[in-house]
Amino acid sequence: MLIDFKTALIILYVLAGLDVVIIIASLLNKYRYNKRKKNRQTMAGLVRRYFEDGVFPHHLRSNKSFMETYIRLREAYAVDDKTRGLVNDYILNRGIDKSYGKMINSPFKSRRMRAAVYLGHMETDIAVKALQDLFKRENKYIVKVYAANAMLLQSNAAAIPALVESLIGAPSWYIDKVRPILIDFGKSLHDHVPSLLDRDETEIRELLIGFGRVYIARDLKTYLLRQIDSENPELRDLALKALSENYPDEIRSDDFPVTDNVEILKTVIKALSNNRTPESVNTIMGYLQVQELEEHVVYALSTMARQEPKLLKYLVTMFRETTDRSVHNAVTKVLSNRIEYFLLRILSEEKETIKKLVGEILRLGGTSEIIGFLNKNRNPEIENEILDTASHLLDGDETLRAEFSTYLNERILKKLSLEKSRTAPVKREEKKEKDKIRFLTIILILVLAAFPAVFLLRRHDLFSALSPLESVKLFVVDFNYLLVYYSAAVNFIYIIILLLSLMGSSLQARLWKLKKFSFLFRRNILPSISVIAPAYCEEATIIESTNSLLNLKYPDYELIVVNDGSSDDTLNTLISYYALEKYDLLYDRFLETKPIRGIYINKNIPKFVVVDKENGGKADSLNAGINISRKDYFCGIDADSLLEPEALLKAASTMLNTENETVAVGGNIFPINGCTVERGSLEKIALPRNFVALAQAMEYIRAFLAGRIGWALIHSLLIISGAFGIFSKKRIYEIGGYLTRSERYHRDTVGEDMELVVRVSRHMREKKLKHTIHYAFNANCWTEVPERMRILHRQRDRWHRGLLEILSFHRKMIFNPSFGSTGLVAMPYFFIFEMVGPLIEVQGYLMVLAAALTGLLNPYIALLLFISTVMLGILISITSLCIAEKDEHYFSVKEFFILLGLAIIENVGFRQLVSYWRVAGYFNSLKKPKGWGEMVRKGFTQK
């Protein structure tokens, strides 16, 4: 026996006392939060007074609050020179610059970052010099980015040489961020240009070309022209782009070198298209001889015809008269961009030409616009003329028939004697995976056999003395002790993670305060992101969530909603609400997916794309979305979830916390049940009314807020919820996207979100690339959770089956030192406590029950069990709640106490139920595969 009864009692009291202390601390924190809120209001008041009186108030309590107010002011408004002078005098007098200047020597990265941000707003000599020193001495590139931005704020031209030199040999993400900062120096950088013109390093040349694109100067023009002959194709293309934007005449001129380089010719075509005359049209047509250029010729001519409609007549004549096949095709494509103009002319005397044009367009596959027109049109004469043309083509053209049958409305189809095609959702058959089942069976046998085996070994000497019944009794008692040890171990690990989370979240909160909007919205500071929301039968909530996703605060993002062959009206709901039109978008198929049926856009919402594809599951839809996305990162979102407006910004900004390449970022998930939503915007946060959902609220707080950030801190985060996670597109391409039947591994999983993280970190480790997986503790995504036990059971069953699939698929990583902390900490944790654990736990509960029924359960064991399972559980739940409420303010005091109550009672009953479900999930994994199971949506609560 480890401890005696008395010690156990003392531990019990200590734990209870700890709970009370934590609750009191948390309440105090809540009170302080309100005070801080008041502080912020005073800050606004001070800024307001500045505009009223014209003088910035000096008499502030502390240097820190003075600086914070001043920065807040400068964040929103440009401050005039006079005020800046006065403030600088004050800073000098009070020695504020000096005290922050000292901070640059701090061993902590975050403090040096803070020094950079604050010093950037001071223009005293001390501050300027301190920043320069920081930049020179600093060896962390991420801090250098902050310092560079600060020096730009100071307009410190003297810093330019150091900034320029820092580019050389730096990682590309650093160069991409600092180059725009340098370019924003404008005239000061130009003064420095002469000394750079003869430099040979790629970084410098890239900088000058980039500068030439936004800054007009003779020497830069000459420099750009010189770069056209560059041996480096990337630099050459950049230079050409800059030239065609700023100096198109140079490219059009006869002096421009004759070349057969396709990339150069593309730029020449673009420059020529600025001159909108028939002669120019002819010249551009000449380039059709080079096949790769066709697309560019068509694009250039289309732009010309749109800006100068008079050219249409010329192009129509060309269409009629040309005998050159390639010219004919190109003109057809150009004219097809004005198809709506021509279709109305089909009854005029140009009828024959236009009918021919329509025929050609259909033949070349440009059906979307014509189908769209026919479905809307109310004039039967025009309709008949178009159908007349189309009917001739239908016989020989299967694709055209299929397009028509799918998208034309029934009445018109009948005229063409076609049938409306209805695609029935395909039933997926999930195959049993033999190796997975073998693995799971072995583990199961081992777990079940392990304890009896140990028992036999340890107690074999006693067997002779005991009757069989007594041996069984001994076994039961021993097992009860095992449960005590097991629970204590699990909860001990939780507590460690919890402490790590506490550290991680306060660090993140501090860093977030340093990231000012003007900095985050600067070019290239944050990566561009494609938000991808797969939707399967989300008719009820799709508009709400799309609206929320279209109104995110983020510098550069697009939204891609993927309709996964829904059997309900999801697609049509989107089309009619956002007035979408079918669009022939070109995209690369890096990842294999189920066929895409159509892409829809609204020209007025350029950042919004809807993809309609055949049903293939969530992972397949995400892969399809990734193919279509045009940004560097993508963010997978559940279509039934709401993102807070700043969630994406907060999540992506964690990439500015570390040096390494970020491959993935996860965000918080909260249950939305109970909250009020209007037009995709969260109006009021409230706890769910339903008990099942309420219990999950506590669970989510524990798992997300208080758990994952700790894992992330020790580079072992392996779960990023499918409801909200950002990934590097480049890396995901390398590993073949989400696991689907269509992709390279030819298998499905029901835990595709976790599997992707495991695989990407495995990939990075195998390639020995430094990388980070972040977790943003303040980026919130609100999602609907099951309100009925049956549905919740199914969800948990699915989660657990997913986990088992992943552990079996990646079992090579478990306890494998070559995978670093992932192989030694994260994977073993999942293996022991998430996979094997529930098996032991449920056995343990059964033994406790057996002991209780047979009177074997003495008060001592009961007390130990109570401490190790319930008391520690309560401590963890309460601490999690307090960490959640530390920096943010989600719940009212009343709700806080409801959650506290929940934190206590969920440890008896609910947790055990979840463990039981997990065991059931284990056995289900050995049986026939089941897929996803249903999720009943009721839609968000409307105001």
Partner: protein, 691 residues
């Protein structure tokens, strides 16, 4: 030469002279207290179906029939109900085959109200009907019986009469459909059988003007819960209702028919075509009779299918031969009954009419000259009606470019059309739509493109147009748009819809906009003018409002004449941002500068405040919840009231894409945060100077 009323007259006459069949009497109550009261003896191809509905102490008579079968119908009706209980007679349209019995009923002592559309009422007075009218169009298209049972009317304009109505009884779910769903049935039965669909199509091909007009009504019927269709000709349809409605919805018919040309081989050559005609004959006549035509001829029919199996003639010759045989054996009636179908098929497969048609028509026209006295009476009546229509038609002058009726017609139309509304003080509205860049287009691209633009505008307006509205072409680049029976904001909403459709269309040679003046009659009624003065004033004011709109910068809907309506509220500013400090600070600064300031924290709320408070200037952050800044601006542009408000965009996010979109949405000021307060204040001051 083959179309329209004269043809119909000839047709009826010919059909009437056909031999009559004897039918067994049958139970004519086909729904609880709803009876078919037609004449079983008096049967011809265009069988007339009067119906009687008993409801408590009342009875309603539907389309009572012609003078020819009056005696029998009267007998049937009075067997079922005493004459004085008939309180309403419903007339679906103006044709003699259903109206000419009414005066005879009146002579027998009928005291009922005649329920019909006003257009019907104008014409049927010529039958000598003296009973009072109940105009359904002025009674919300409803007729309430004493018991509370309400009959609903569905207006089916130009099917085949402008005032045609269908009656729907929600209790029995019966649709009394008038001419619609009628059929040519020499082989008549009270209820529709398998061949009825063909017979119905044959009838509609002859009588209905075009699919364009037929389709919308059928689409509407598809949305209703109909159990039975009781047409005025042909048979009652009591099953597969939707099949029949869809069949008519998709039917190509009428004078304006321009079918898709098909290759004759696709139907199986001339033989296939002839078989199509044969099938139609089988549905119309006794199959034995049809087969009889071909006995002992060179055209051999298959025993089983009764279709052409073998023939000595080929191609076109067979086509001609078939009708020659029919004509010699069966006479003109068999030719006329199929004429529309033949004409349609000839067009569709691009082959000429069969030879016999030319000569037969000549014969028929001659035959008309020698009609019996009994029939002459009817013919005179119809000629009178025809003259009436002809008179009006002569006055109609159409715009040669757009094919729309022109300004002269527009004014006359208003005079006749609005008199009822005027007398009842009911509202209607007129819009004048002027294309803003018409003269520019004419100048830049030539007159031909100018004309094109007018045609395109016509097309676009028609795409958005409601069924009951009418479009006219005035002089120059102006159109007039008539909205009958309006309420409140309707005309402005319609006008905005048109304005946006034109602005958003990609079908013009270049982006084109329209300025629209809108006037509601109710604005004028208060002034106690005569009808003519009132109309003149409406047109004048409408023109004036177009000019005002043009002065205000075009692409606008102007529905009030006062020039300075928007001036009163000068000095109101709306701030939209999620940054509390900015709202506070900017709000204070602007208030000090003397402006009234409103603040909003999301786009939806902002839109609401703009509508209610009518601020002059909106200062807005791009990234705001619910509706983002640019979308908010877009919403504002959709309304003529909001579109001219000054708009300043403020944001941390200012990149190529957002700047492009800002310009597209007519935003001239886009400041990047941190912004200069003095710059913003300067911009706001410059707005005040501009006003």
């Amino acid at each position: 030469m083959f179309r329209g009323l004269p043809y119909a007259v000839i047709f009826i006459l010919v059909i009437n002279s056909l031999p009559r069949y004897n039918f067994r009497t049958m139970n004519t109550e086909f729904y609880d207290n709803i009876f078919w009261v037609g004449d079983t003896e008096q049967v011809n191809a265009l069988h007339c179906n009067p119906y009687l509905l008993r409801d408590g102490d009342e009875a309603v008579l539907f389309d009572p029939g012609s003078s020819l079968d009056f005696e029998k119908v009267f007998q049937n009706v009075t067997d079922l109900t005493p004459l004085e209980k008939i309180k309403h007679v419903i007339l679906s349209h103006q044709d003699p085959d259903l109206c000419s019995a009414v005066p005879l009923f009146e002579q027998k002592g009928l005291k009922a109200r005649i329920a019909c559309h006003w257009r019907t009422s104008v014409i049927i007075q010529y039958y000598g009907i003296t009973s009072p009218f109940y105009l359904v169009d002025q009674n919300n298209y409803r007729l309430e019986l004493e018991s509370g049972r309400t009959l609903q009317f569905i207006h089916a304009p130009y099917l085949h009469f402008p005032g045609a109505v269908l009656t729907y009884d929600p209790v029995s779910r019966i649709l009394f459909s008038g001419d619609l769903f009628g059929g040519f049935t020499l082989n008549w039965g009270l209820f529709a059988d398998d061949g009825y669909e063909e017979a119905m199509q044959a009838f509609h091909e002859s009588y209905m003007p075009s699919n364009d007009i037929l389709r919308p009504v059928m689409e509407y019927l598809l949305s209703m819960d109909i159990g039975t269709i009781a047409p005025q000709h042909g048979s009652i349809i009591n099953r597969d209702i939707r099949k029949y409605i869809k069949s008519l919805r998709d039917l190509e018919c009428g004078t304006f028919l321009s079918p898709i040309k098909k290759a004759i081989t696709s139907i199986g050559g001339y033989a296939g075509l002839c078989n199509k005609i044969l099938k139609r004959y089988y549905s119309l006549f006794d199959p034995e009779d049809v087969r009889d035509v071909f006995t002992d001829t060179d055209i051999v029919l298959d025993d089983e299918s009764s279709l052409i199996k073998d023939f000595s003639a080929t191609g076109r010759e067979l086509w001609n031969r078939l009708f020659e045989l029919v004509y010699t054996k069966k006479g003109t009636s068999w030719i006329t009954v199929i004429a529309s179908t033949v004409e349609k098929l000839s067009k569709e497969y691009d082959i000429g009419l069969p030879r016999i048609f030319e000569s037969v028509i000549y014969d028929i026209e001659k035959a008309v000259e020698t009609l019996s006295d009994e029939n002459r009476h009817l013919k005179d009546l119809n000629e009178r009606l025809e003259r009436n229509l002809q008179n009006t038609r002569e006055k109609l002058i159409k715009c040669p470019v757009t094919g729309l009726y022109n300004g002269t017609f527009f004014r006359q139309y208003l005079e006749t059309e609005t008199i009822n509304s005027f007398n009842n003080n009911e509202d209607f509205a007129v819009l004048i739509i002027d294309l803003d860049n018409f003269s520019r287009i004419n100048f830049n691209y030539g007159n031909k493109t100018g004309d094109e633009t007018l045609v395109t505008a016509t097309y676009i307006i028609r795409q958005t147009m409601a069924e009951t509205h009418l479009l006219f072409k005035l002089e120059g680049s102006r159109f007039a748009y008539y909205i009958p029976e309006t309420t409140g904001k309707d005309p402005v909403e319609t006008a905005e819809k048109i304005r946006l459709a034109i602005e958003g269309s990609d079908s013009f040679i270049e982006r084109t906009t329209a300025t629209i003046g809108a006037v509601s009659a109710s604005e004028i009624y208060a002034e106690n003018l005569s009808h003519a003065e009132c109309l003149r004033k409406i047109i004048d004011i409408c023109g004036l409002r177009v000019s005002i709109g043009k002065n205000r910068g075009m692409n606008i809907v102007c529905h009030s004449s006062s020039l300075d309506a928007s001036r009163e509220d000068a000095g109101k500013i709306l701030l939209v941002d999620t940054d509390e400090m900015n709202l506070d600070v900017l709000g204070t600064v602007l208030k000090q500068a003397g402006y009234a300031v409103f603040t909003c924290r999301d786009g939806l709320n902002a839109l609401d405040v703009i509508e209610r408070q009518n601020p002059d200037i909106v200062i807005c952050e791009l990234m705001i919840p619910k509706i983002d800044g640019l979308s908010l601006r877009k919403q504002m542009l959709k309304s003529s009231e909001m579109k001219n408000k000054h708009f300043v965009l403020l944001s941390y996010q200012k990149d190529d894409l957002s700047v492009d979109r800002a310009f597209e949405n007519d935003i001239r000021y886009f400041l990047q945060k941190p912004f200069m307060m003095s710059e913003l204040l300067g911009i706001i001051r410059s707005f005040s100077h501009a006003d």
